[in-house]
Subunit: 673 residues, 2 copies
């Protein structure tokens, strides 16, 4: 028999199968919408199957049972193996295929080459001149050398200008002398810097004739290529365990009069001649592009993290029975509880929304790249503002959803068998890396404040599409309850109203402070929480719009209907969440708020029959999920027991601490009596 | 020189000292308000000093560098040592002193006797009859035997009635036969069950003559007292690693026709005679008292977790410099940023509020205990409702604050050197254990709905104090901006209004569904999210009231002024957080909301000079805090480097995985070219 939900197999947990049988859409089709079209969705499944057949690509035991050293060893083992098998399984030039392969085989806790592909090679491509690329690029691409990108220092993160590491030009020997003048100047945090990399692109303040020329990048060999021992003058090591992501060896690095040739300065943009003549880079923005690149892709990766947690929680909620709604009937699936639905379904909607917004962002990023090649940098500021906002909002709201998903599984969610805490730990790091969220929100706010100024100067009609709504007028009240079905537009107008109102009021607060004599940056600081709120509302509006655009674009009516339910749920949930802003000046009335609540509960019920199918559609394999609780087949309890029996503590019945410490304690107490 | 802030020492980080010099109150005095009066605050300091002098009570290395097995061993080592030294350091009968000693020495990741004192002994006290206490109590108190309390099963948590483990009475042999009829019936989760305990109080469904008598408690020996080997018929082990709290061996337990004497059934309340005659317990509520006991104390423990995270974040924010407010001046402390203040200060206020509410709860619990001894159980329902709500709201909001604190420290907050992730991991477990939060909120909601019914029946004036406000009438609008300074009362009235409005509307939704023919439990389920919101607002009102009561009670004007600032901050922050409810029907006007925002920013500034002193007042020692980032002396960077150098990965320059896997990978690639 052919089922719409493609995850059904014989022998599965019957409760889970019964959920899948109520699907109103084909999950393969939905997967195509989530994963860049039918072709790639199909490739993902093929890759999963190919991996299944190669045992050395499988985890040799669950990660939670390994020490950090064992995990790192296991990660390197699989990294070597997957490198050998790669060309059989995927097209290595297809980033999306490589991403999926890595997720399945290496997992999300990192690996010895995590930064090599994402930061080191792009740094060479973006910043080394042609001759330099000749020297390093093919060696890096072929992994003859392994590298990373060393920017942040123990005492300095985002403020590039304040980096303390120095590269002083020695004209006599035609070399740079690298130094770490203080403890706070130690390079700190770069991934794979500690133990894996033998090269790094290092950011240091360049000094020529005693004068600082600001931060520049340098190719630095860190370790002997044969012995892997650190070179003389280099202090290097791992910064120690983190909240998560512990297969990656984030490292520290110090220099003590370490010399590199002048031509190890990356000279695509800035240059230094043999005679000490310095040429500035022509375009300062160029350096941002690596960050924007990573941020653009972060949105959909974060959506995948959230979807992973929801896959676990929604499936488990269909398997877990607890309590009664009808006192005479058997215990119900916990998925029947409105509180459980309210905890999970709006986050399913968010995961979808983030995915759609992420796909748009990547498309915009690719357009900006093409534009730049044609000399047009006009969209860069928009893309930067958009990704700054999305990165912050998505990582934060995603974290909220992941923790709700974990807690919705009760005690078992707290066990590492669920793998929740690791997924959360890795994902939530995104609030901090690639631009700390508060800093990002305020970068977006600067863009919004400029847009408000443009509107006030009568230039509102010339604003770029992302902020065009700031130049438009509001209705005096919301009309969300006038167009009952499919009234997406009125919701969007309401979100536009509140984002606009908050943006204007925050900008006005800032301007008024300046007019009253407050220094500009002090005024900015005193307005920053309100500006932050504006950035958040602006970004949440964008996410809702991206979801609406997606639904409007879908042709297949079963997919469109299902996504429309999810979108309705999203719009009502999000509006309720920011209703404080909407209720001001009675733009939204009290009775409209009641309407929003009723709609919310209505759409929880509508989403209910498709809940499992919505998460199944992400097609995150058991291998990738690494969660006993989230297994496709729903056989949770038996496998929790099997998992627990493997725990290292269960290798012996009586652990050494019992004889060594507990028994003496017990006897000591007895002797007192 | 004598300073008001008692944490100042010579040689400290100057930025931190400068913060401490602006304190407007004596931190020892504030500590007395946080820690049950001057005497106990002084005892805490003395205990800290005593521990300092006994090296075997100190951690032998930082926990994050240990494997789980090493941690468990280290925990047992210190447990044995602290048991030996205990009577020199504290009065072992003083629970508060014991609590502090354990926090400092054993820490928050648990220990082999964690459940022994909190659950096993109270279970004997509460449920064993006098003769049974004679047999087991002194052996337990003296730790000749180590026990735990085994209730939850793999497939069942909160639903006691559905527990599957059976204890079948065999009249012939005068024994109970214990069985685990399925995998889901395995006892699962009890702390210290896996490897440490040799006894347990086990909850099982009692069967007499083929008939179930419901859940009862039994004393069961699990392991041989000499060899510690599991007894025949017992399957036992550790359930595997968890999100946190991994020194404790949460365990599983299965029975295969395991026999215990009839008199191992705990018979204080229910009884079974030799001839099979069964006597029911007289008062079903009695069994709740252990849960209520734990929940009553949880509130202040959770406050301490939150305060720990804030201590780390606020101190670090005074040490960390980043960016500029005045472009010409040096980089500023990150504590100067309004966004940073907004991230941290309202949570300082919450930690104080939770502490004050927790102290009230413990007093009420003690009163209820006295009442019960005098045969008066009238307050038990109120206490149960109160602790259910507080437990849920405090664990959830606390978690929010802890994660904000971590993120406010940027990358370094993500390092386990900060210890944030462990504190969060342990604390957030509180959302799940001792009654899952959603279940707890709905238990409170039942109490609130009953109170509404009483009001509707004209009994509003007879409601107990905790819900008396439900019987009162609202003003038509809020008056918060009419009494500018010290207008705590108008804020409380506003919180009362919104809690009352939501409670009535949720209750009415429930009643209306029933009137329209919906079965009662279905109606309850369909109203449960709204009921939940009511419970939350009710509890947050209580917390605000407890804070107001505390401030009104303080005599010392410097303490009173400082706490008043914190309370103002709290009231405005909380009101803004729930403003959606207040804006309905224009109870709060848009201009009043603007007023609340302005007040919020004003009180962030007022709290600023005391921020470090507010966290210092908790007097959480460096030993207890276990955080490099939160050190009292503020010497963060040097010690982060020292910490990292100790990381196990840095014991050798080149780790085995490099030669074993990375080099073959690098060569394999080279050979392809």
């Amino acid at each position: 028999m052919v089922h719409l939900n493609k995850s059904i197999r014989e022998g599965d947990n019957a409760d889970l199968t019964s959920e899948r049988l109520t699907a109103t859409f084909n999950t393969h089709e939905m997967a195509a919408h989530l994963h860049q079209g039918r072709h790639h969705a199909q490739r993902r499944r093929e890759i999963t199957e190919a991996i299944e057949k190669i045992p050395e690509l499988h985890d040799s035991q669950p990660y939670p049972f390994m020490t950090r050293e064992e995990k790192i060893n296991e990660g390197a083992r699989k990294l070597e193996a997957v490198t050998r098998h790669m060309e059989k399984i995927i097209d290595p030039n297809n980033a999306a295929e490589l991403f999926h392969l890595n997720n399945e085989v290496l997992g999300l806790e990192g690996n010895a080459c995590a930064l090599h592909g994402v930061m080191f090679i792009p740094a060479i491509l973006g910043q080394a001149d042609d001759e330099q690329q000749e020297r390093w690029l093919h060696r890096a691409v072929n992994r003859e050398i392994i590298g990373t990108y060393a920017q942040t220092e123990l005492g300095h993160g985002t403020m590039l200008r304040r980096l303390e590491t120095t590269a002083t030009f020695d004209k006599q020997t035609d070399e740079f002398v690298l130094n770490t003048p203080s403890i706070t100047a130690l390079k700190w945090w770069p991934g794979n810097l500690g133990k894996s990399s033998n090269y790094a692109v290092v950011v240091a303040t360049m000094i020529i004739d005693g004068k600082s020329k600001g931060p520049h990048t340098f190719m630095v060999q860190l370790r002997d290529e044969k012995t892997h021992n650190p070179l003389k003058g280099i202090t290097i090591g791992d910064i120690g365990p983190k909240m998560a992501y512990n297969i990656t060896d984030n490292g520290f690095l110090g220099f003590d009069n370490f010399r590199i040739p002048r031509r190890n300065m990356l000279m695509r943009h800035a240059k230094l001649d043999r005679d000490g003549t310095y040429t500035k880079p022509s375009h300062a923005k160029i350096n941002y592009s690596a960050m924007v690149h990573v941020r653009s892709y972060m949105i959909s990766h974060q959506a995948l993290f959230l979807a992973s947690c929801l896959t676990i929680a929604v499936r488990y909620s269909a398997v877990r029975h607890q309590g009664h709604i009808d006192p005479k009937a058997p215990e119900v699936k916990v998925l029947e509880y409105q509180t459980q639905q309210h905890r999970l379904f709006p986050h399913i909607a968010r995961a979808y929304a983030f995915n759609f917004a992420g796909a748009e962002t990547v498309r915009l990023y690719q357009k900006v790249l093409t534009d730049i090649e044609e000399g047009d940098t006009s969209l860069m500021a928009d893309l930067h503002a958009l990704t700054s906002g999305l990165k912050s909002v998505v990582t934060y709201l995603g974290g909220e959803g992941m923790e709700q998903a974990r807690m919705s599984c009760g005690g078992h969610g707290y066990s590492q068998a669920s793998y929740f805490s690791e997924i959360y730990g890795v994902a939530i790091g995104g609030c901090t890396y690639e631009g700390e969220n508060m800093v990002m929100m305020l970068q977006l706010a600067r863009y919004l404040v400029k847009s408000v100024a443009a509107v006030k100067q009568g230039q509102g009609s010339k604003l770029p599409p992302l902020v065009a709504y700031l130049g438009q007028k509001s209705e005096s009240t919301s009309l969300i309850d006038r167009v009952p079905n499919g009234g997406f537009t009125e919701y969007i107008k309401t979100f536009q109203h509140i984002a606009r109102r908050q943006t204007f009021s925050a900008a006005e607060k800032f301007v008024k402070l300046i007019e009253n004599g407050t220094p500009r940056e002090v005024a900015w600081n005193k307005s920053s929480v309100e500006l932050n709120r504006a950035s958040r509302l602006h970004t949440r509006l964008y996410i809702a719009e991206a979801f609406v655009r997606k639904v409007n674009e879908v042709a297949d009516p079963t997919i469109k209907d299902a996504l429309s339910d999810l979108l309705h749920l999203h719009l009502n949930y999000e509006l309720l969440d920011v209703a404080t802003y909407a209720l001001q000046d009675n733009f939204l009335s009290t009775s409209q708020l009641d309407y929003v609540r009723d709609q919310l509960y209505l759409y929880l019920e509508k989403v209910r029959p498709n809940a499992v199918s919505f998460v199944d559609s992400w097609e995150i394999s058991d291998r990738e999920l690494r969660s006993v609780l989230g297994r496709r087949d729903g056989h949770v309890y038996k496998n929790l027991f099997e998992w627990a029996k493997q725990s290292p503590l269960n290798r012996t019945d009586v652990l050494p601490y019992v004889d060594k410490y507990l028994k003496p304690m017990m006897k000591q107490q007895q002797s007192k009596i």
